[in-house]
């Protein structure tokens, strides 16, 4: 009987460090025990972008970095029975499975790939369910993606059928970790206490380096060793649910500060962290350093899972344009403000517009412009500023017209503006709703790769 399992994180988001899984797999392999590695590569809108790629080409729509992420570690994982669990299937898990199967064949491996689907709600029946659940969805032709957050169960099923790799679309991020634990230890689907613990272990792992010194360094206050080479996290979890967060070799650190920041990341009510599998509860959690880069978290529990599943719906969000121009030297700030005023006066009235002055006030301000109107109370007078103007609207021509007014600052704006950069891109909007569990049917398929 397995008493302890190691789970490492190979990626915490789609843009993560591509070489991170290598050190994680090296350490999992050296441990010799039961192990898995998870890859979390789906943000709120990542899936919509994947759907757009799939529309252009039905063979695409999975995580674009899938191949570079898996190529250096696939052989070691398959040969050492280190399960790979990833939501890198994104908008097209079967296509991702095919890529992985080809990669395995190239590396002369015999591998079983579990493919989890059923999260996609964009079919006619799915849309009907969504409309029954929410009154404020856009019309059908604006919809780009709608995916329900699946739980651990279909992943456990795939592992039970012997999958070496499990590829999913939208699943709750912590389920990537919880599933191999349920599979290894046989935890019940109503063992809320241990499901709560496993879910929060998954929560700590799912953002990769964010628990091992990534997104943490504040020089002189919170220093991080070798931040250019952070070892990604590896959790050691026991059958009882007790767990310790550690990390792969390399830089970074794990201590009570890094674990506290990540434990509360994106958490609202600490007593009710909702997932498809359990309502996790960290209101009584305590964090204990048990060794160098080894932290235990006690006091986590769980309660009954919610009755509904969350669905993220993405739809056509119109256009976003951004233009920037720099001003330097005496009276730079006044010239930048004048330029903002000129652009505002000349831009179309039917689009949203926002101005910032980078170097004085650029992220704290509000879209309504209240903070910008109060600019003098923010920064010290400065001689190196950059005006940023952002426009948004559904009419591409109007948004472009606004952007053109930034470009025209070269010859017609205040003195000595330089370094104009312009960008225009389509935007994906997102909303969410909650649907009955019975409306979602997860499916598991096994694909075999042979050399």
């Amino acid at each position: 009987m397995v008493e302890r399992m190691l789970i490492g994180a190979g990626a915490g988001y789609s843009g993560d460090r591509i070489d991170a899984p290598i050190a994680v797999v090296r350490d999992l392999k050296a441990s010799g025990g039961r192990a898995a590695i998870i890859f979390e590569t789906l943000g709120e809108r990542t899936l919509a972008l994947a759907q757009l790629r799939r529309r252009d080409n039905p063979a695409l729509g999975y995580e674009p970095k899938l191949k570079p992420l898996l190529t250096p570690v696939l052989k070691d994982c398959v040969e050492n029975r280190i399960a790979i669990v990833g939501n890198f299937g994104a908008g097209n898990p079967p296509a991702a499975a095919k890529v992985i199967a080809d990669l395995a064949a190239d590396q002369k491996l015999h591998a079983k790939i579990g493919v989890v689907t059923g999260d996609d709600m964009l079919g006619p029946e799915g849309i009907e369910v969504l409309r029954a659940a929410s009154n404020d969805l856009p019309d059908d032709k604006s919809l780009v993606s709608a995916n329900a957050y699946l739980g651990a169960q279909p992943i456990v099923e795939a592992l039970g059928e012997g999958a070496d790799i499990v590829v999913t679309g939208r699943v709750a991020d912590p389920a990537l970790t919880l599933a191999p634990l349920i599979h290894a230890f046989g935890w019940g689907y109503d063992d809320w206490h241990r499901l709560g613990i496993g879910t929060m272990a998954g929560h700590l792992l799912e953002c990769g380096a964010q628990v091992t010194g990534g997104y943490f360094a504040d020089p002189g206050f919170k220093d991080v060793p070798e931040p250019e080479n952070i070892g990604f996290p590896i959790a050691s979890i026991e059958r009882s649910g007790a767990f310790v967060i550690g990390k792969a070799q390399g830089g970074g650190l794990v201590d009570r500060r890094t674990v506290a920041e990540q434990l509360l990341y994106e958490v609202h009510d600490p007593a009710a962290y909702l997932t498809p599998d359990v309502t996790a509860d960290i209101s009584n959690a305590s964090i204990i350093e048990v060794g160098k880069d080894r932290v235990r978290v006690d006091g986590i529990t769980g309660h009954q899972r919610p009755d509904t599943l969350k669905v993220t719906v993405c739809y056509d969000g119109g256009w976003l344009a951004e233009g920037e121009i720099s001003y330097y030297g005496p009276n730079a700030l006044a010239r930048a403000r004048l330029a903002a005023d000129v652009v505002k006066k000349r831009s179309p009235k039917d689009i949203r517009i926002r101005c910032d002055i980078i170097g004085v006030l650029s992220v704290l301000g509000d879209d309504g412009g209240a903070a910008f109107a109060d600019l003098d109370s923010f920064g010290e007078p400065t001689r190196d500023v950059r005006l940023r103007v952002a426009f948004a609207g559904n009419d591409k021509a109007l948004v472009e017209r606004g952007l053109q007014e930034v470009e025209a600052l070269y010859c017609a704006g205040p003195a000595a503006g330089g370094g104009i950069r312009l960008a225009l891109r389509p935007r994906i909007a997102a909303t969410s709703c909650f649907i009955p569990r019975s409306a979602v049917t997860p499916r598991v398929e096994i694909v075999e790769a042979r050399p």
Binding site: E44, R45, Y215, D218, G220, F221, K222, R257, A260, E261, Q262, L263, L264, Y265, E266, V267, H268, D269, P270, I282, S283, N284, A285, S286, I287, G299, C314, G317, L320, R352, I353, R354, D356, I358, S362, V363, L364, G365, D366, D367, G368, A370, A371, D374, R388, A390, F391, A392, R427, I428, A429, A430, T431, S432
Partner: protein, 119 residues
């Protein structure tokens, strides 16, 4: 009594979901936690983020972690898919909270962190 930025007393991280922002605030030392409880109230945080017009600010207490968790509603101009902000996630805002100055009694000031070379 001296007035210090929270940055010297605690660390923080934000997370976003839609138009809702959470900010954790974690005391560097357990001894500093009561000071956070006393001064970093829902009202103080609402005032700190006045330009973002939060519709509500809720504070959760985690005494065993000597941490607070704040949930601010409707402060992200619609959130990552709607806002015109450069930082539409609100990721930078943890350090805006850390810029808040609070009174620190002398007996607790020794726990405060100082930048290297700042005496």
């Amino acid at each position: 009594m001296t007035r210090l930025e929270l940055h010297a007393l605690a660390h923080a991280r934000t997370g976003d979901k839609g138009n809702r922002l959470n900010i954790s605030l974690i005391a560097y030392e357990p001894a500093l936690y009561p000071l956070l409880l006393l001064h970093v109230t829902e009202a103080a945080v609402a005032m700190r983020f006045i330009h973002r017009k939060p519709s509500s600010v809720k504070r959760y207490e985690l005494p065993k972690m000597h941490a607070l968790n704040f949930v601010l509603d409707d402060v992200l101009d619609g959130g990552v898919t709607q806002a015109l902000n450069l930082d539409s996630h609100g990721k930078t805002l943890s350090f805006h909270l850390l810029g808040l100055r609070v009174p620190v009694p002398h007996e607790l000031a020794r726990y405060a962190r100082r930048a290297p070379g700042a005496g």
